[in-house]
Subunit: 351 residues, 2 copies
DNA sequence: ACGAGCGATGTAAACGATTACATCACCGGT
DNA sequence: ACCGGTGATGTAATCGTTTACATCGCTCGT
């Protein structure tokens, strides 16, 4: 029969006939309290509908039990899945997560870092959206526990949890060539982001290693959002000699690419092969299913949280790099045994 | 050249040669301060890298500048888009958002409500995941500003922002019948949720209104997640007389349905028609593109936030119901003029 | 029988901000 | 020259916890 919201330890203490210290002690069971008093306190808590004020508690203990997570784009399934993993792991460790959505805009990232810091999060998981800003540098140097996630920034000694897709991209390029494609293009993310630059580099290297020319007009740069993927594809297709294969740098740009390809009435892989860095559940339902590079997102998120809690506890942690893997489907040609249906019963969820 | 993290108003005051009151005054410009002192304070702030402690501030002012948002499932694009809208609007109003992911599990919702309340959010946006729990009742009755979002709970006087899809569902059923389908089935969300129950009811009503029998074996119940959609479809297809059309109660169950349909090698709409309540960007890229019911998610989220801030300011607000609309594509038959490509240049993003 | 030690409790000082209230200097009107 | 008013500032109380320290009875070992 909770009565009101504004009960404080003082009220509880009064009702239970003990001191505030005793109340606090049973609430945190930080010290021994007689059975009788414990029962009284608990009863008073119940009766008043008392709910501890985490704000006051945080002020006193200098810990909020909260970690901040700044992601690139909340509409991007990759970050969504990442956020989900982070949240799960954090809650297991007793932390709440405050998510900040930078929306791939450099300015917003700092806005969020600022408010998160003001709110005194115990640690920060950051997917850096821009080059190194003074704020981020100060934050790191002032000793706030920070872990970079997915992306990294150079020139700063911060543990980073990321996925290296170089091998998978190399394998993908091999796959493309084996299927007779000779003019593959790449739609990259912003070169300013590590994930933009690295994937482009890996692509160029893979080409070079196989003796193919790296044609600059086949290296488009988008911003990891769908519209830019569509625009990039439009430019590529308007080239005098358009590419015969396109790799999108993330799943949203792949979606945009699909928009443009379908709008032009082109067929995949007949007219053009398409593959995506990032795999999402619905790719298998396209016709043909989309070949993609899958990242171990769950593991990435969970391990980053574990690392951050270590750092919060004052321990050092190492940078970790996980590996992506190529998932061949039909969108670059070939694997069309049974055009789409019932391959090995692949589905977004188990049957 | 910010030096350390632990500067407080006291430090700033000392360095600037003024009192803490003056510092606070310039920080909030709450009262007139001489130009000279203002400059000194600002300089000291800069020099110390002072960052106000929002925790202490909240304790004193009894306001956190934070609202809580408890959603059903962070992996569901519907909620993701909702979260995005909520965040945008909230930040414009000067609020930060703490997201809680109930993961469609009744228990988790209360967990989150509890921690959000402990953390003293100024208001709560709740997509109720279960029936009315004592905690939610207490919260509302204790005067905490609460607004229900997407879903509602009966027996409680809380403003609710939701979408009514009854008309759209009725229209969809009409569409199905017009295309010759006579045995349409519905995969519902949990009957315990308003969005589960309402959509099922609307479907049944639409059938009844048109003189079609409502066959109980065609009314499946899932949990708004993909796996349940797949399972439901398996059961439906195993029926002695399977349905010739299926409407999924949300986009994830539609995805699961696709899994099962494709795994069995069935074709859409040849073998079975499929439509989804909820529209997501990639539906247009299926072959044929998926007919769906689109909800005004952005508007829903933004208006709910505005309502909540009103409530926080102590004003009353009304419940709002928006309307969904049917988007006919090809997955139920017919609209296959140009089977898929280049219809009216539909795409997930503008060209 | 006495002091050490321990368990249970209470008192009061933090934590870092905001703000009501008091103070003080100064200005202009009469 | 005096008084009221106003603008700029400082002092100290306060928000709701946690916790260091003090206190007070007991019990137990010798």
């Amino acid at each position: 029969m909770a009565v009101q919201s504004k009960a404080s330890v003082k009220d509880v203490a009064k009702l239970a006939g003990v001191s505030v210290a005793t109340v606090s002690r049973v609430l945190n069971d930080s010290a021994t309290v007689s059975e009788q008093n414990r029962a009284r306190v608990l009863a008073a808590v119940e009766r008043l509908g008392y709910r501890r004020n985490a704000v006051a508690r945080s002020l006193r203990t200098d810990a909020t039990g909260t970690i901040g997570l700044v992601i690139g784009d909340i509409l991007n399934p990759f970050f969504t899945e990442l956020a989900r993993a982070v949240e799960d792991e954090a809650r297991m460790a007793g932390y709440a997560v405050v998510i900040g959505n930078a929306d791939e805009r450099p300015g917003r990232q700092d806005d969020y870092v600022r408010t998160l810091l003001e709110r005194r999060v115990d640690g920060l998981l950051l997917c850096p959206t821009a080059e190194l800003t003074p704020l981020v540098r100060d934050t790191v140097e002032s000793g706030t526990p920070v872990v970079f996630l997915d992306r990294t920034l150079h020139g700063l000694d911060v543990p980073t949890f990321r996925v290296d897709g170089a091998d998978a991209i190399d394998e993908l390029v091999g796959h493309l060539l084996a299927l007779g494609r000779r003019r593959p293009a790449f739609v990259s993310g912003p070169a300013i982001l590590s994930t933009g630059q690295e994937r482009t580099d890996a692509f160029s290297c893979a080409l070079a290693r196989r003796g193919l020319p790296v044609r600059p007009e086949y290296l488009e740069e988008g911003d990891f959002q769908a519209a830019s993927g569509r625009a990039a594809l439009a430019r590529l297709l308007d080239l005098p000699e358009p590419p015969d294969a396109v790799v999108a740098g993330d799943n949203l740009m792949a979606l945009g690419a699909l928009d443009e390809i379908h709008a032009r009435g082109l067929s995949i892989p007949g007219d053009i092969a398409l593959a995506s860095y990032d795999d999402v559940p619905w790719f298998i339902h396209l016709d043909p299913p989309l070949t993609a590079i899958a990242q171990p997102v769950q593991e990435l998120g969970r391990r980053a949280v574990r690392a951050l809690t270590e750092r919060v506890a004052g321990r050092e942690v190492e940078t970790v790099t996980l590996r992506a893997r190529l998932v061949v489907r039909g969108s670059c040609g070939e694997p069309q045994e049974h055009p789409r249906y019932g391959r090995h019963n692949e589905g977004s969820v188990p049957a």
